[in-house]
Every structure is written in C-alpha cells, then in structure tokens.
C-alpha cells in the first residue's frame, strides 16, 4: 500500500478554498461541493473550506451519494467550526467505505479490527500462561496449535457503541496499513468472500492523508501548493 499522499492539491482541508476565505463565491470559483451540485457557491458556503474545486468535487460526490448534501450540511451546522474538518474527514471515510462495500461499509473495518483484537488477546493469554509455567518446575505446556481457536463470528449487535470510545484519538491512524492488513487477515480467518469487505484502503488512506495534510495548515491561503510536504500528524482530538 502506498504510503505517499496524493501529490495533487488536497481536496479537503481547512482553509484550502481558492478565495482564501472561509466561504466560496469569490473570485476563485465554486467549491467542490457547489461545483458538483452545479449551484452558486455563496460566501459562507459551509462546504467550501473542506471541498476545494479540484478533487473536492469527487470526494463530495461520494458524500452526497451516501449521505446527501442536505444531511451533511445539517450535521456540520451542529458541529463547532473547529471540529468540522475532523467531521468531514470521517464522513468522507465512511462514504467511501460504504461505496466500496454497500452492505457493510465502515462496519467491515470494525469487524476486522475486532477480530484481530480478540485473536491477539487470546495469543497474549496463552503466552502469559506459558510464561507462568516457565517459572514453575514443571514441564512446559505443549506447543501452541497452528491456528488458535477461531472466535465466534461477530455480528453487528456485538459491536460497541460510539459512546464507549475514548475522547481522544489521532486521525492520522486512519491510514495505518494495519487496517488493510487486518481486513485481509479477517477475510482469511472468517473465510468470507473478499468482496464482502471490499478494498479498504488505498483511496481511503490517500484521502485521509490529503485531509490531514490540509489540517496541518488550516490558515494557509489557497495558493498553498505544497502537497508534497509530508503530512504532520494532527493534534490529538478531544471532545
């Protein structure tokens, strides 16, 4: 999986609008959202800071197809301005995931990761038990089986709720390679048709990198054309 962000200008990010202001409709043309919707981009357009006129239209297309412009607009209006970029990143991530996997969407990632956690914890328990036996004058346990006992298949009802999520986490982990690896691993473990999970990450991760690259310099004018700079990890988020 490519670890390099897209070299083109970030399509989503704070302050990336061509007019250099928070809204569109200036001399710089419509934002990506208004371009896609073929409407006039007015000053103060809620989408303008996050969807530029280049690749923003493509990303907004996915968001619009899954959520709808009106719903996303209402969602963003209820979020403080300083948190909206994060919200747009995750909304784009979910939209892309849903388009890739119309049945499970982002839940496929969660399933895969949860399976991985369960197996890692099982392996850890085994090794810790092994370690404790090494401290005792008794024969070591038999070697571990080639494959650990597979946990029961997860269902959506087994998933935790968003309220159980800690308050702080780093958006840069959105493009950790392990997401793709865990999905592949999960597919092997569960012996499920790979199409069910879909491809995870190349485009999603490139999107996340673009978004985060923008987040690293939210105040830069639209003339900022330094997408090749390595993205700096964003600050930890807090609710």
């Amino acid at each position: 999986m490519s670890s390099n962000p897209s070299s083109s200008g970030g399509s989503v990010g704070g302050g990336g609008n061509c007019s250099g202001s928070a809204g569109g409709g200036g001399g710089g043309g419509p934002c990506g959202a208004c371009k896609f919707l073929r409407r006039k981009c007015v000053p103060g357009c809620i989408f303008a800071p996050y969807f530029d006129s280049e690749q923003g239209a493509a990303h907004f297309a996915a968001v619009h197809k899954v959520f709808g412009a009106s719903n996303v607009s209402k969602l963003l209006l209820h979020i403080p301005v300083h948190r909206r970029l994060d919200a747009v990143v995750t909304i784009c991530f979910e939209a892309q995931a849903r388009l890739r996997d119309p049945v499970y969407g982002c839940v496929a990632h969660i399933f895969a990761l949860q399976q991985q956690v369960v197996n890692l914890q099982a392996e850890l328990s085994y090794l810790q038990a092994h370690l404790s036996t090494l401290e005792l004058p008794s024969p070591p346990p038999p070697p571990p089986p080639q494959t650990l006992i597979a946990p029961p298949p997860l269902s959506i009802s087994d998933l935790p709720s968003a309220s159980s999520v800690p308050a702080t986490y780093d958006l840069s982990s959105l493009f950790e390679p392990m997401v793709t690896q865990s999905t592949s691993w999960a597919m092997q473990q569960r012996q499920i048709d790979p199409r069910q999970f879909g491809g995870t990450g190349g485009d999603l991760q490139a999107l996340a990198r673009e978004l985060l690259h923008r987040q690293g310099s939210p105040q830069l004018p639209c003339t900022d054309a330094s997408p090749s700079a390595s993205p700096s990890p964003p600050q930890s988020l807090s609710k």
Binding site: G68, D86, E94, V107, V117, L120, K239
Partner: protein, 149 residues
C-alpha cells in the same frame, strides 16, 4: 387493506405499499431505528442503496446503516470511525504486550538453558575474558586463602 405501516412510512406519513423497500428492515415496533437512519442518510438514500443490493444482503446492510447512524448521532464528529481508532489502539497495545511477553519467555528459556552464562563465556569462548578469568581465578584463590570468602 393492511393498516400496519412500517416505521419508515409512518414517519414519512405516507402509504405503506406491499412492495415497500424499507418495510422489512424498519418494522413499526422500532420507530427509533428508522429515525436514526433517516436523520443521517435520508430515506431516499437508504432506499436507493437497498434497491441496488440483492435481497439476501439487504437486512445486513440495513443493520450496518443503523449502526453507523447511531454512532454518528452519538459522536457527530467521528461517528463509527472513532471505533476504528479505539480498536487500532487496542491492537497496538496488545501487540506491544505480546512482544514484551515473548521477550520474557525468551529470557526465561535462555536462563533455564544457561544457568551460569558468565562462567561458560569466560572459560572458552572469549580469549579476552580468559585472561581476566585467569587473573580472577588467582584473585579468587587469593581471597579464599585469605579467608575472605
């Protein structure tokens, strides 16, 4: 004519037809389920998405949509992506702990196989230490003779 509308049609205040796409997945006994999905995705988007899917997977799709909608309502900024972060952190913590445990096991096994690693080293394998070992032996023997040990 059935008077029972599904939760979707009841919410949308429309007639629930026999071929209502949403009816199987949004029963009238759980109105909140459709409300959540509608607030995030909209009834039209949900209908289009389900229509594009084979019938045998629509239930799972509806469930996952509901789950994601609930996550987004609970955490408007991160939605269910927050769970992805949390699980990634758990994976990292577990992997880190696995590494530590494997190291501990390796150390324990090494100690069990070579209970006196210094003696074995100095005697034959390390000529540099052999020199000192000789001196140490002399020193040791001196200590013994002197009653120090």
């Amino acid at each position: 004519m059935s008077s029972g509308r599904c939760a979707a049609c009841r919410y949308l205040r429309r007639k629930c037809t026999e071929d209502c796409i949403l009816s199987p997945y949004f029963p009238s006994n759980n109105p909140q389920r459709f409300v959540s999905v509608h607030r995030i995705y909209g009834a039209s988007n949900v209908s289009k998405l389900l229509l594009r899917l084979p019938i045998h997977v629509r239930a799972e799709a509806a469930d996952s949509l509901y789950f994601e909608a609930q996550c987004r309502l609970e955490d408007p900024v991160h939605g269910c992506v927050g769970l992805v972060f949390m699980l990634q952190q758990q994976i990292q913590a577990a992997e880190s702990q696995l590494v530590k445990t494997r190291v501990q096991i390796a150390v324990m096994k090494s100690q069990a196989q070579h209970p006196q690693p210094r003696e074995a080293e100095s005697s034959f394998n390390n000529p540099f230490l052999r020199h000192f070992d000789n001196d140490a032996n002399l020193s040791f023997s001196n200590q013994i003779s002197s009653g120090f040990i």
